[in-house]
C-alpha cells in the first residue's frame, strides 16, 4: 500500500503523467456517461435503425460548432409538426352539404442563415374512411412573394419530397426547390433571403371527422455536437459508444497479452533446460509472424466480432517480445535467497513461479502494460479502417472507415474523419504519457539518462 502511495506521489512530479491521467479519467467519464445515458440496445438501434430512426436528421451535416468558427452561418434542421402543437389549426366549412371542410395551418419560421437548407420534405398523415383529403402547399417569402409549392391527394401516411419536385423546380426557374424557395430574387448568385417564411398548408377533407396533419422538415447543414454521416446517423452515438469499446478492448488486450507473456517467461526461466530453449525459439519465430495479416484472414473468413479478434491477438501474443525482457529479470530473481528459502520449505514449482517470481516483476510490467494499451486501441481501429470492424458495434474505427469510403476528405467533410481521429489520438496519447512516466518512476536506471 505504501508502495502505491509512493508511486502516486512520484507521478505528481511528472506534469505529462498528470495530463495523461486527466485524459484517461475524462475518457472513462465519457464511457460511463455513454453507457448510462444510451443503453446498449438503444445505441445499437440508433446506429443500425434505418430510415425511420434517422428520418429527421440531415445527411452529412457538419457539427453545430462549425458555425462558431466560420462567418457563414449554416442552417440547422428546422422541424415543425402540426400534431405536436407547433402550429394552430383553423377549420373552415366550405360546403356543409358535401361535407367539404378546409383545414389550414401555417408553418412560420425565421430564417437568418447564410446558406440554403440541404433538403425540404413534408411528412403528412391523414385520417379518413373513403375519400382522401386534398392538400395544397403555398410558400410565403419575407418580401411578400407567394409561391405555389404543390397540390396533391394525401394518402394515409406519406411524404412529399419538396426538393425532388421537378414541376416546382421548373416554376422556380430551374433552381433546386430548397434553393429556389429561399433565394433572393435580387441577387445574381443564389443567396438566401433572410427573414420570416411561412408555409401554408391547406387540406380539403371530404368527410366528417377527417383530419390532416403535417410535419415540415427542413434538413439543415449542421446537426448536433458531432454532425451526421451519409446515412443521416448522428455521429455522437458512435463517438460516445466508441469510448467504452476502445478502452475495454485496449485494456483487455494489454492485460491479456502481458499476463500470458509473463507466466510463460516465468515458466521458461524456472524450468530452464529444454523448456527454456523451446520457449525461446518459439518466441523468436512468433516475433516474425505477420500478426495483422493473420487477423485480416480471421476477420474475412470467420467472424468480425471484436471479441474474437481480442482472443486471436492474445493467443498470438503469448510468445510476444516481452518474454525476452521478463526473462532477463527472472534470471536475476531466480538466484535470490528467498527463492532458495521457498525451495527449502518444500514449495512446489508452480507455487514458486506464481507466488514468488511473478509478483517481483510487477514494477516492470505495469508501465509496459499501460504503454501497450494504445497499440491495441489502434489495432482495433486499423482493422475497422480496413473494413473488418465489428458488424454490430459502433466504433471510432468504423466511423473513419465509412468516412474514408464516403470520400469525407475530398468533399471537405473534415469533421467526419477528425472527430474519431482526435478521440483515438487522445486515448493513445494519454496512455503513452502515463506509461512512459511510470517507466521512468519504476525503472530509475533510465531516469538519469
Amino acid at each position: 500500500m505504501s508502495g502505491l502511495k509512493r508511486t502516486l506521489k512520484e507521478i505528481r512530479r511528472y506534469p505529462s503523467a498528470i495530463a495523461g491521467v486527466a485524459i484517461i479519467v475524462l475518457l472513462i467519464g465519457i464511457a460511463i456517461y455513454a453507457m448510462v445515458t444510451i443503453p446498449y440496445s438503444e445505441a445499437i438501434r440508433l446506429w443500425r435503425g434505418g430510415e425511420d430512426v434517422w428520418y429527421k436528421t440531415p445527411k452529412n451535416a457538419r457539427p453545430l460548432w462549425s458555425n462558431w468558427l466560420s462567418t457563414t452561418k449554416l442552417p440547422p434542421t428546422i422541424v415543425q409538426n402540426s400534431r405536436e402543437g407547433d402550429v394552430e389549426k383553423s377549420v373552415e366549412v366550405v360546403d356543409a352539404e358535401k361535407n367539404m371542410i378546409d383545414i389550414t395551418f401555417d408553418f412560420v419560421f425565421d430564417y437568418a442563415y447564410d446558406d440554403f437548407p440541404r433538403e425540404i420534405t413534408v411528412f403528412f398523415e391523414a385520417d379518413y374512411v373513403e375519400k382522401p383529403p386534398y392538400l395544397s402547399l403555398v410558400w410565403l417569402t419575407p418580401d411578400g412573394r407567394e409561391i405555389r409549392v404543390g397540390d396533391f391527394t394525401a394518402s394515409r401516411s406519406g411524404s412529399y419530397r419538396v426538393s425532388q419536385d421537378q414541376k416546382l423546380q421548373r416554376r422556380l426557374g430551374g433552381l433546386l426547390p430548397h434553393v429556389g424557395l429561399f433565394a433572393d430574387p435580387e441577387s445574381e448568385e443564389p443567396a438566401p433571403l433572410q427573414g420570416t417564411y411561412t408555409l401554408q398548408v391547406s387540406g380539403l377533407v371530404f368527410e366528417e371527422g377527417a383530419d390532416v396533419d403535417a410535419e415540415l422538415v427542413m434538413y439543415g447543414q449542421v446537426h448536433g455536437l458531432a454532425g451526421t454521416d451519409h446515412l443521416r446517423r448522428d455521429l455522437m452515438v458512435a463517438l460516445l459508444w466508441g469510448t467504452p469499446i476502445a478502452l475495454a478492448f485496449g485494456l483487455l488486450a494489454a492485460v491479456g497479452t502481458t499476463v500470458t507473456t509473463l507466466v510463460i517467461a516465468a515458466v521458461s526461466t524456472w524450468f530452464g533446460g529444454w523448456v527454456d530453449e523451446i520457449i525461446q525459439r518459439v518466441t523468436e519465430v512468433n516475433l516474425i509472424l505477420p500478426l495483422l495479416p493473420i487477423l485480416i484472414m480471421v476477420g474475412t473468413f470467420y467472424s468480425r466480432s471484436i471479441w474474437l479478434m481480442l482472443g486471436v491477438i492474445i493467443l498470438l501474443s503469448i510468445f510476444g517480445a516481452g518474454i525476452k525482457t521478463y526473462r532477463a529479470v527472472f534470471l536475476q530473481v531466480k538466484e535470490s535467497p528467498y527463492i532458495e528459502a521457498a525451495r527449502a520449505y518444500g514449495a512446489g514449482d508452480m507455487r514458486i513461479v506464481l507466488r514468488y517470481l511473478v509478483p517481483r516483476i510487477i514494477p516492470l510490467l505495469v508501465p509496459q502494460l499501460v504503454i501497450l494499451v494504445p497499440t491495441f486501441v489502434f489495432t482495433e481501429a486499423s482493422l475497422a479502417v480496413l473494413g473488418l470492424g465489428d458488424p454490430t458495434l459502433p466504433t471510432w474505427g468504423k466511423v473513419m472507415n465509412e468516412a474514408y469510403n464516403g470520400g469525407a476528405l475530398y468533399q471537405g467533410l473534415y469533421y467526419w474523419v477528425m472527430e474519431p481521429a482526435v478521440l483515438l489520438m487522445l486515448t493513445g496519447l494519454a496512455f503513452a504519457l502515463v506509461g512512459f512516466s511510470l517507466d521512468r518512476i519504476f525503472n530509475p536506471r533510465l531516469r538519469g539518462v
Binding site: E284, I288, P290, L292, P293, I296, F301, P374, L429
Partner: protein, 364 residues
C-alpha cells in the same frame, strides 16, 4: 593477416547460414499457420478446386476433339476430369496430408487463381497480381525506412551530445506520438496538405494519366511519395531517436570513452570509433523489431494513400472477398518480414565484432 580475414568472413557466413535456416523455418511456420487458419473453413481447398475446374473447363472448351460432344456429355466429361484431377492432387486425402501439399505450393509461390481480382496485365494468377504490386510497396517502404533510420541515428547522436538541453526534452516529450501508427498521421497530412492547402496529391503513385517522359514520371512519383513517407517517419521517429539517444548515452559513459577523451581525441572521432561502433548492433536489433511492426502498418497506410502496393491489394481483396489473394498476400508478407530480418542480420553480422570472433554466438 590474410588467414584472419578469411576466418572472420567464414564466421560471418556461418552466422548468416544459421540465421537463414532459422528464418526459413519461421517462414514455413508462418505459412503453415496461414494455411491452417485459412482452411478451417475449407477456403484453401476451394481455391484449389476453383483453379482445377477453370483449367479443365478451359482445356475442354479449346480442344477440337470435344467439339462434337453435346453440352451434357461435355459437362459429364468435365466432372469426371475434375474428379480424376482432384484425386491426383490428393484433395480427397485427409487434411494433415493435404496441408503439406498446400505448404509446398505456398512456399513456391504457387498461389492459385484469384476469384475477382486481376493484375494490370489481365492475369488472374495471384502470384502475378501480387508481384506486380511489390515494387510500389518496396519503393515507399524502402525510402521511408532508410530516411527513418538515418534521421533517428542523426537526431539520437545530436541529442546525446546535448543531453538535457531544450531540444532533448522536446524529443522526450514527443515520444508518446509513436503510440499512433503511420496511417493515423497520414490522415492528418492528407487533411492539411491535400485537402486544405491543396499543394500535394491525396494519394496514388503517379499523376493520372502517367507522364510518358521518365524525368516527369520520377518527379510525379516523388511528389506522391512525400506524404506517405512523412507519415511513416513521423509515426516512429521520436521514440526511435529517443531509444538511440539512450543507447548512445549508456555507451558514452564507458571507461574507454573517458580514456579516449583523456588521450585528447576529437569529439567526432570519439563518437565514431567509441560510441557509434559499439552501439550499432543494439540499434540494428532495435530497428529490426521496429520494421516488423512497420511492415504491417503498410497495409493500412497504402489503403489511406491509395498506394497501389500489397497493402492496398489486401484492402481490395477484403472488399471483393477474394480469398486466394488474401492467403497469397499473407504468404508474401511472411516472406517479406523474414527477408527484412535477414538483411538486417547481415548488417548486424558485419558491424558486430562478436560475430567475427565467436561465429554464431552474437545473439540476434
Amino acid at each position: 593477416m590474410e588467414k584472419k580475414a578469411e576466418s572472420s568472413l567464414s564466421r560471418i557466413a556461418k552466422y548468416m547460414g544459421v540465421r537463414l535456416v532459422f528464418l526459413a523455418f519461421t517462414v514455413v511456420i508462418g505459412v503453415y499457420l496461414t494455411i491452417i487458419i485459412a482452411n478451417m473453413g475449407g477456403y484453401v481447398d476451394n481455391i484449389r478446386r476453383g483453379a482445377i475446374r477453370e483449367g479443365i473447363a478451359f482445356q475442354v472448351a479449346e480442344d477440337q476433339a470435344f467439339r462434337q460432344m453435346s453440352q451434357e456429355q461435355k459437362n459429364e466429361f468435365i466432372g469426371e476430369m475434375i474428379r480424376i484431377e482432384e484425386e491426383r492432387l490428393g484433395l480427397n486425402r485427409p487434411f494433415i496430408l493435404r496441408s503439406f501439399g498446400f505448404l509446398t505450393d505456398a512456399l513456391t509461390l504457387n498461389l492459385g487463381r484469384a476469384e475477382n481480382m486481376t493484375s494490370d496485365s489481365g492475369s488472374k494468377q495471384v502470384r502475378l497480381i501480387l508481384l506486380e504490386r511489390l515494387p510500389a510497396t518496396l519503393v515507399m517502404w524502402g525510402l521511408a525506412n532508410l530516411i527513418l533510420f538515418f534521421l533517428s541515428l542523426f537526431i539520437g547522436l545530436a541529442l546525446s551530445r546535448r543531453y538535457g538541453s531544450f531540444l532533448d526534452r522536446a524529443v522526450i516529450a514527443l515520444t508518446p506520438t509513436s503510440s499512433a501508427p503511420a496511417w493515423f498521421y497520414g490522415l492528418f497530412l492528407i487533411l492539411i496538405f491535400a485537402a486544405i492547402l491543396k499543394v500535394l496529391p491525396f494519394g496514388g503513385m503517379v499523376d493520372a494519366p502517367p507522364p510518358d517522359n521518365r524525368v516527369q514520371y520520377g518527379l510525379s512519383l516523388a511528389k506522391h511519395l512525400i506524404l506517405p513517407t512523412t507519415a511513416i517517419i513521423i509515426g516512429a521517429l521520436f521514440l526511435n531517436a529517443y531509444n538511440y539517444r539512450t543507447f548512445f548515452l549508456i555507451y558514452s559513459s564507458e571507461d574507454y570513452v573517458e580514456m579516449a577523451k583523456a588521450k585528447g581525441l576529437s569529439d567526432r572521432e570519439i563518437e565514431r570509433r567509441y560510441v557509434l561502433r559499439p552501439t550499432l548492433p543494439n540499434i540494428i536489433t532495435n530497428f529490426a523489431l521496429l520494421l516488423i511492426t512497420l511492415w504491417q502498418g503498410a497495409i493500412i497506410l497504402e489503403t489511406i494513400f491509395n498506394w497501389p502496393g500489397l497493402g492496398r491489394a489486401y484492402f481490395t481483396a477484403i472488399g471483393l472477398f477474394d480469398t486466394a489473394v488474401i492467403v497469397g498476400n499473407t504468404v508474401i508478407f511472411a516472406y517479406l518480414l523474414a527477408i527484412t530480418v535477414f538483411l538486417l542480420d547481415f548488417v548486424y553480422a558485419v558491424v558486430d565484432p562478436r560475430v567475427k570472433i565467436a561465429g554464431g554466438k552474437g545473439g540476434g
